[in-house]
């Protein structure tokens, strides 16, 4: 190719490294045709906080389901069809007027993928991972989540096995809403525990 005139957009070093990994792993037969596209599509459009919102809404309208959810999160979540990678051992922690739960992964970025999708950037960053354990009330306030001064804050550090999901309190004044309408009220942040509804 003659130099210069159709120079493609510069490929960054990290893109080159990923391309090299892709070539190596493909050569070893570890990357089936279409695998990358399929995984990307699933995590961009199918797997996300809308799944967790359905779990929360079901728990709000169905007391028996809520009890199953708090007893065996993995099984109750599977009842709604959600499971898979990073969801093998799900524990659901319930917010009450006096207890506020929040999840973190201090070592890396463990997160309940089947119900929340992939974590937001701030969840993976050092300040959140370090400070949520040390000074949760301050960090929560900085994120706009003000709690009553007498509320107990429980911080759940995701470990190798367990992935946590926060069951937020059902907002008052929602008695007339359907389950689907309730799901529409549930935010990702409320299920991480950095927001309230």
């Amino acid at each position: 190719m003659s130099e210069g005139s159709h120079h493609p957009a510069a490929v960054s070093p990290i893109e080159r490294r990923v391309a090299a990994l892709e070539a190596l792993l493909t050569e070893r037969g570890l990357v089936p045709d279409g695998f990358i596209e399929e995984i990307t599509r699933r995590y961009e459009s199918e797997i996300g906080p809308m799944n967790g919102a359905k779990v929360v809404a079901r728990a709000w309208v169905d007391q028996a389901y809520k009890e199953r959810l708090l007893t065996d999160g993995t099984a109750a979540i599977a009842e709604l069809g959600f499971g898979g990678a990073e969801g093998d051992h799900m524990v659901v922690v319930e917010n009450t007027p006096t207890v506020h739960n929040v999840i973190v992964c201090t070592l890396c970025s463990c997160y309940p993928w089947p119900v929340l999708g992939l974590p937001p950037a701030w969840y993976k960053d050092p300040p959140y991972r370090a400070r949520m354990v040390r000074e949760p009330r301050t960090v929560l306030a900085e994120m706009g989540c003000e709690l009553p001064s007498d509320a107990e804050i429980r911080v759940w550090d995701s470990s190798a096995e367990v992935r946590y999901l926060v069951l937020p309190e059902r907002p008052s004044g929602t008695e007339g809403l359907t389950e689907a309408e309730l799901a529409g009220l549930v935010t990702r942040d409320s299920m991480i525990g950095v927001g309230r509804l």
Binding site: I14, E15, R17, V18, A19, L21, E22, L24, L25, R28, G29, L30, V31, P32, F35, I36, I39, T40, Y43, E44, S45, G48, P49, M50, A53, A85, E86, L107, C108, S109, C110, G117, L118, P120, A121, K124, D125, P126, A160, T178, A180, E181, A183, G184, T187, R188, D189
Partner: protein
């Protein structure tokens, strides 16, 4: 209220804003890790997680997906030669 519920459900993934990936190489390296976990480690995520923990600890301020890439590079070196 005339908006069909299916529409409000479709809105849910966007309620919290962010897309999962900022650039194609990020989704590629995410999927490559899934491929290795699934097809070289029988679905066991722990070996990759340990590499990721070490990669993040080694350079805490490195961008996340670059640490992810470094972790996968190291994990791949542990695979048996074929």
């Amino acid at each position: 209220m005339s908006t069909p519920l299916s529409l409000s459900e479709m809105d849910l993934p966007r309620r919290n804003g962010e897309l999962a990936f900022d650039a194609p190489w990020q989704s590629t390296v995410f999927a490559l890790a899934a491929a290795v976990v699934d097809h070289a480690f029988g679905g066991d995520r722990e070996p990759f997680r340990q590499q990721l923990i070490q990669a993040i600890a080694a350079e805490p301020n490195r961008p996340y997906w670059e640490s992810w890439t470094a972790a996968l590079e190291l994990l791949v070196t542990t695979l048996p030669e074929q």
